[in-house]
């Protein structure tokens, strides 16, 4: 790992494990500081300094954890799809390991979105759960996350595991898209439309909008931070396995 690295001439060169470790090691502290600051300011602003909604009362404050976690839950799967495709097409190990590293983050974010949605739904809708298109597709997305992690754990050969999980990821992408657009496709169910939209008329009120935007930025930062930490762990674990195997053969 101590060899001097030349300046990269292509984005693909960052798929080189040594180059990835060098870049991620440099980025980690900055991402950590940015994430901590953004998340702290966003959550404190949202929780302590925003008013109650005239219909939802103080439950509107749940938006600051529910919306960002739901966004990460969906987009994490899309990130896994892209890295899985990179693995299938270009065979870069770091991309397969990044997909593996992302799955527990996505699963946790899906659980947070489901639980905070249920906690909000009980007083607002009068029920913890409804077989609404968005809620149901989100639950299936969570099951896909579990299946994806189980498949990685079940297959011993890492390259075979990467291939099988990549195929599963492509299949599961249908539910990631459905989770996002269920309301548009079916136009029914209890769940309301998007809280954030490019159309200003559809957005939440400005007093909720800016702290929400900060919380989303904080969650995105947290996601990137965890991806870097966990992918570095996977790269090291892969090298460790290779060294142990080499010693056994010697």
């Amino acid at each position: 790992m101590s060899e001097r690295l030349t300046r990269p001439t292509s984005l693909w060169e960052y798929a080189n494990p040594r180059r990835f470790m060098a870049l991620s090691g440099f980025l980690l502290p900055w991402v950590a500081i940015g994430t901590a600051a953004t998340l702290l300011i966003g959550l404190v602003w949202g929780f302590f300094f925003t008013p109650d909604d005239y219909r939802q009362g103080s439950t509107v404050k749940i938006i600051y954890v529910h919306v960002p976690s739901a966004m990460i839950a969906i987009n994490c799967w899309l990130m896994m799809l892209i890295t899985s495709l990179v693995w299938l097409i270009r065979r870069h190990h770091v991309s397969a390991l990044a997909a593996k590293a992302a799955a527990p983050i996505g699963a946790t974010m899906t659980v947070i979105a489901l639980l905070t949605g249920a906690i909000w739904g009980q007083p607002m809708w009068g029920t913890w759960w409804a077989w609404d298109p968005r809620l149901t597709s989100f639950l299936i997305l969570f099951l896909f996350y579990l299946g994806y992690m189980a498949l990685w754990a079940a297959v011993e050969n890492p390259d075979t595991a990467a291939e099988l999980t990549s195929v599963l990821c492509i299949v599961g992408s249908v539910f990631a898209v459905l989770s996002r657009y269920a309301l548009v496709f079916w136009n029914q169910g209890l769940h309301q439309g998007a809280s954030l939209s490019l159309d200003k008329e559809e957005n939440v009120s400005d007093v909720f909008y800016w702290p929400l935007l900060l919380c989303i930025a904080g969650f995105v930062g947290f996601f990137i931070l965890l991806i870097l930490i966990r992918t570095r762990t996977e790269v090291r674990a892969r090298r460790l396995q290779a060294l142990i195997a080499r010693e056994r053969m010697a």
Binding site: G57, I112, T116, I229, R236, L240
Partner: protein, 63 residues
Amino acid sequence: MMPDLGKYAADVLAAYAVSLGLIAVLLIVSLRQSRKTRTALRQVEESRQAKASAQQGSATGNG
């Protein structure tokens, strides 16, 4: 300092507790795994280096 959450206080606090709790668990588990793997890799690399230098030393001694 604590805002008045009214009749929904339990719901709001439960949502934040669940979210922050799960986020903390995820972060702690990730950091622990990272530290564990880094330590294990360093140990294996050090033992390989020690073996390699011992072999080199005995080869030089024999020569």
